[in-house]
């Protein structure tokens, strides 16, 4: 079995295992929704080397797009979701096009500033977005003959979409396009010198990432029946990024691990201690100092430590090299 099939199998196992181990269908859906968002973030961070603080923009706009369409029109659910994905892709193309004009830290700061811009945009135009209150009472219509009213049937719907998108992102990552993104990540100047249209590749990566994140945002709005302002704020971008990095940036399944860990742990801890973010902050520092390949790296080490350790099949060949920062280079 090749690596991609193994990772898809692992993702499918997660989608099947969540209902067996979790009581709340809402929480289980949330895991998969953020797994999509984190995998989309990983396409930028792990594969292209772009650390985007703007993922919350696409997530939030996806929520608003789905909410507005379902509140004000009677289009089918599928169309509303497609619209959200398109919104995410279009805005991501714009944000990407502007942000990649600068590299490295400047790029990160630009994406963060854009995320603030869209937050204040949503906050300012209260008539459209509901401002602080968010868009309320978003309906969750049936898809074809299937009613999605019950939380586990909605989970099943999310799980199917999750697996489809996961497979699609895997296809993207293993295509010539995806391989070229790795070349851009590892040495942008070389990729450009060879003759790859690096700018277009980066913008395309942004568009794909934005589409998937927008769709995830739409699914989240449907899940909770609200498109809240918090879906587009700084902390949403931050959370998606944290999930991606905690999981590990080497492969797409790592993002599923990261999202699952973040969502489940935050649910457990926040009920015990509202200030649990203190621990999360500490964990981020620990990850940066001691677990630079994230949870996936940890898993790899565990598997290798097993007596029959299958070193070759699980080892990822595309781990980003952790090397000293050379001046002026990308992230």
């Amino acid at each position: 079995m090749n690596r991609a099939s193994l990772h898809f199998l692992l993702a499918a196992l997660v989608a099947i295992a969540l209902p067996l181990f979790m009581r709340s269908g809402t929480l289980a859906s949330e895991v998969l929704i953020f797994a999509m968002a984190a995998a989309a973030c990983n396409l930028l961070l792990g594969y292209t080397g772009l650390l985007s603080f703007g993922q919350g923009i696409f997530f939030g706009l996806g929520s608003y797009a789905a909410g507005l369409t379902l509140l004000h029109t009677s289009v089918p659910l599928a169309l509303a979701l497609v619209l959200s994905a398109i919104t995410g892709a279009v805005v991501a193309t714009g944000v990407g096009w502007l942000s990649i004009r600068r590299q490295g830290v400047y790029f990160v700061m630009l994406t963060l500033a854009f995320s603030q811009f869209f937050y204040f945009l949503a906050y300012t135009f209260k008539d459209i977005t509901g401002g602080d209150n968010g868009l309320l009472n978003i309906p969750r219509p049936a898809i074809g003959p299937f009613s999605l009213g019950e939380s586990w049937t909605y989970y099943a719907f999310v799980a199917v979409l999750f697996l489809l998108l996961f497979a699609a992102l895997q296809r993207v990552a293993s295509s010539t396009f995806g391989r070229t993104l790795l070349a851009v990540r590892d040495n942008e100047e070389r990729a450009r010198a060879i003759g790859f249209p690096v700018r277009n590749f980066k913008i395309t990566a942004f568009a794909i990432s934005g589409a998937v994140t927008g769709l995830a945002g739409a699914l989240h709005a449907l899940l909770i029946g609200v498109a809240p302002l918090s879906n587009i704020d700084y902390h949403m971008s931050e959370s998606i990024l944290i999930m991606t990095i905690i999981g590990g940036t080497g492969n797409l399944f790592a993002s599923v691990l990261g999202a699952g860990f973040y969502v489940i742990v935050s649910d457990l801890l926040s009920s015990i201690w509202p200030r649990w973010l203190l621990l999360l902050g500490g964990l981020l520092i620990v990850v940066a100092l001691f677990m630079q390949k994230g949870l996936w790296g940890l898993l790899e080490r565990l598997v290798e430590a097993l007596p029959m350790g299958r070193k070759s099949s699980i080892n990822s060949s595309i781990e980003p090299p952790i090397q000293p920062e050379s001046e002026g280079r990308g992230i």
Partner: protein, 284 residues
């Protein structure tokens, strides 16, 4: 008259933004370190003043002490933790500083509660200045005056002293400076503490104007990034001009279209990036 009022307001706000952002800019120039915890120093400066005045300490004493505590904490963090990660890619700088910012924000909520509070304007400056039709709060004039003096002092420190020369040389080539026998690690810590202390002072000065709340650090971080992006990374003059520009635009906008004030700042930043990708005065 309302525009003159807002213009002066904008200058005061802009000078605070300058204090807030200049440290971020210099730290990046010297250490190539991106600090997502920079807003935290602003947050701490404001809360230290809030806490000390709540305990009955004189505002002026609090204003004097708070930035030094912030600078001390920053120096400690730099030498214990951050120094270990300079060699790692930017991703890990961001991860660690985002983690630090989260921890401090939660600590602030634990210690002082989630709501925040107000810091009363010091008695001697609680009045207004009247020049004919022009009426202006004295405290805000004091802020403008003090920040101007500090800006000049900082310029002298960077351009006219040995430390400044080392900092400027370090921005060009850290390795060369170390080869010349200068203890660059100590310079790094000093510069980091200086930048953090200035951000802390900006927070402390802003506290009587805007009050304190636990999420002001995130907001300040966004503003600092805009100032640095517009002004150009690593540029003192750029930070000054961009800080004033952002402050004045924001103030004038509060008269014209209050809801859109912060929107305009980020829009302006987008425009600068489109037309001048390096910012007003940034180097390559």
């Amino acid at each position: 008259m309302i525009y003159l009022f807002q213009l002066v307001n904008g200058i005061g706000l802009g000078m605070l933004y300058f204090l807030l952002a200049v440290g971020l800019s210099i730290i990046f120039g010297l250490l190539h370190f991106v600090n997502f915890a920079h807003g935290t120093f602003y947050l701490l400066g404001a809360y230290f003043v809030y806490d000390m005045t709540e305990r009955g300490l004189n505002f002026w004493a609090a204003l004097l002490v708070a930035p030094f505590i912030v600078a001390g904490l920053a120096a400690l963090t730099e030498s214990v933790l951050l120094r270990r990660i300079y060699h790692l890619p930017h991703t890990f700088h961001i991860l660690v500083t985002v983690g630090l910012a989260l921890m401090v924000q939660e600590l602030v909520i634990i210690l002082w509660g989630p709501v925040g509070g107000n810091v009363s304007t010091p008695g001697a400056l609680s009045g207004v200045l009247m020049l004919g039709d022009f009426i202006y709060p004295q405290y805000r004039l004091f802020v403008i005056g003090l920040t101007l003096v500090l800006a000049i002092g900082l310029w002298w420190l960077l351009e006219g002293t040995r430390l400044g020369a080392v900092v400027r040389a370090g921005s060009e080539s850290t390795d060369m400076v170390s080869l010349l026998g200068i203890d660059i690690l100590r310079v790094n810590t000093a510069v980091f503490a200086l930048g953090a202390g200035l951000a802390g002072l900006a927070g402390a000065l802003a506290a009587p104007i805007r009050g304190v709340e636990p999420f002001m650090g995130v907001e300040a971080l966004g503003i600092a990034f805009v100032v640095v992006v517009i002004g150009g990374m690593g540029s003192y003059t750029g930070a000054l001009i961009a800080g004033l520009l952002v402050g004045i635009v924001q103030s004038i906008m509060t008269t014209l279209w209050p809801e859109g004030a912060r929107l305009m700042i980020y829009l302006g930043m987008g425009l600068v990036i489109l037309t001048m990708p390096r910012g007003l005065l940034g180097r390559a």
